[in-house]
């Protein structure tokens, strides 16, 4: 399939990007508001065209462990879910991180806690970047803010996942998942050939040839001393990501007196509030996080040096703000504004919050 111009929902974009990026397998379980991902895949029948395997599992636990098994053979394997389902996957995610298995997990967040609502939310920030499962591990976490980014980040995810042998999380929410926007699709990347798989994933378990030792995929180490050495190795990998793989976008930050810090759909709302503020003569900029881990600590700290205040906009009770305050070492007035439980803040509310919490 060639490059095309389409109007598409964010969830559908994820599914189509999986097919187009040469993904070998998808394993999922239905949950609102992301069921369109698997529905699109099933309707598209990629197994006929690219050979991609798509399977509806019996639970999110099964899905994430199918990702583990499939991805451990050195193939590109993905799953998607929404907040309660992602909670169920945390065991699998820590095993994937511990066994250094590249894979892609998409969370289209909804309101919580518990079963919560099915409307958009961003209250899984802590779960995503502070280690939702046990142990010291990190997921490379991308936060798309448009349908185009939902699509493009799937391609980017595979590069990062295999470069670092690490799971990648695309952290989206119901607003971007359900929203339709203009999308440029890309040329298909063919699925890896057998030779490419072996070259790109020499650690994979696909059947031991006589001329190499057997490959083992495990996160178990009975010897604490060796576990510590391994943990240092993981930390070095995360440090390298912090050094090389940070992504963010700055809008109107150069002359800004105040900035919004936001990611995903909140950053779109904040962008509108920024435009409204500028119309009123208030110099506001937007610092949009694209990677939540690694967090753009240095870059945000630099911007914060010449502003009078920061408003963190997040559909949560205030999670991302902790990392913002750490980055700026609390050197500038920083407040949180958010709606949660599935309520999306309006641009007007965001602007009022800036005026009331920061400017006044």
């Amino acid at each position: 399939m060639a490059k095309e111009l389409k109007l598409m929902k964010g969830n559908e974009a994820i599914a189509r990007a999986m097919i187009a990026s040469g993904t070998d397998g998808y394993f999922g379980y239905p949950i609102t508001p992301q069921s369109e991902v698997m529905e699109t895949l099933m309707a598209e029948k990629p197994w006929e065209e690219t050979g991609m395997v798509v399977l509806q599992a019996e639970s999110e636990m099964a899905s994430i462990n199918m990702v583990y098994g499939g991805a451990a053979t050195g193939k590109k394997v993905a799953t998607s879910s929404s907040s309660p389902g992602i909670s169920l996957m945390q065991e699998g995610l820590t095993y994937l991180a511990g066994a250094e298995i590249p894979c892609l997990v998409v969370n289209v967040m909804r309101g919580g806690p518990g079963l919560g609502t099915i409307q958009p939310s961003q209250s899984d920030y802590f779960q995503s970047v502070k280690g939702g499962g046990h142990g010291d591990y990190q997921l490379y976490t991308l936060a798309p803010a448009s349908v185009q980014e939902m699509y493009d980040f799937v391609f980017d995810a595979w590069d990062i996942a295999f470069k670092y042998r690490n799971p990648v999380l695309i952290l989206s929410d119901g607003a971007i998942g359900q929203c339709m926007e203009k999308l440029y699709t890309r040329d298909y990347v063919p699925r890896w050939t057998e030779e490419e798989r072996r070259k790109n994933a020499p650690w994979g378990t696909w059947g031991k040839p006589a001329n190499r030792p057997h490959n083992i995929i495990t996160s178990l180490e009975l010897d604490s001393a060796r576990q510590e050495v391994f943990n240092h190795k993981l930390q070095a990998k995360y440090a390298e990501m912090k050094e090389k793989e940070v992504r963010y976008e700055m809008l109107n930050c150069d002359d800004a007196d105040y900035i919004f810090v936001a990611y995903g759909s909140s950053s779109r709302i904040a962008m509108k509030a920024m435009q409204m503020a500028r119309e009123k003569g208030i110099k506001v900029g937007l610092f949009r996080l694209i990677t939540l881990f690694p967090f753009p600590t240095k870059q945000l700290a630099d911007v914060a040096k010449h502003v009078k205040g920061i408003l963190c906009v997040e559909m949560s009770a205030g999670q991302m703000i902790e990392d913002v305050r750490l980055a700026t070492e609390c050197n500038v007035k920083t407040e949180h504004f958010g709606r949660f439980g599935g309520i999306i803040p309006t641009p007007t509310e965001v602007l009022e919050a800036l005026e009331n919490k920061i400017i006044k």
Partner: protein, 183 residues
Amino acid sequence: MTEEIIIAGFGGQGVLSMGKILAYSGVMQDKEVSWMPSYGPEMRGGTANVSVIISDERISSPIINQFDTAIILNQQSLDKFESSVKPGGLLIYDPNGITHEPTRKDISIYKIAATAKAQEMGISKVFNMVVLGGFLKLKPIVDKQYIHEGLEHSLPQRHWGLIPQNEEAIEIGKGLIEPVQVL
């Protein structure tokens, strides 16, 4: 040009698909677009609404609370969204089932008796296109040829035979819309 629109009515009135056809037409004309539905339990049998933005520039928020145009197809939606039209903006409504007329003085108001007309002509299936035609008469933000392409992309190929009927309905709507209050 940026046009921020809310289309609201009952589920089943073709609210979401009207928005999609408009948005897809915008895409075909290489404009920036967004289509943001309300979703969730309220979708099932109750009211449905969708925000559509068509712009020459990068769209900031697909989620908005102030609109250039509100296209209103039932009383609940009129009650909910009349106040969300920007001062100087446009409100279009179908008088079918409306018991309390809009009261704003700072916006332009038009009505389009699309329900009645569609019933009369036996074209209830393309009722939403009659309404879209009325809107496009007042705000021709997308060219006619791109509406055709928008229809092609929005409808499954097996329904392409219905495109002429849809286009006809748009033309009917253009003739049907009438001013109530013009600023």
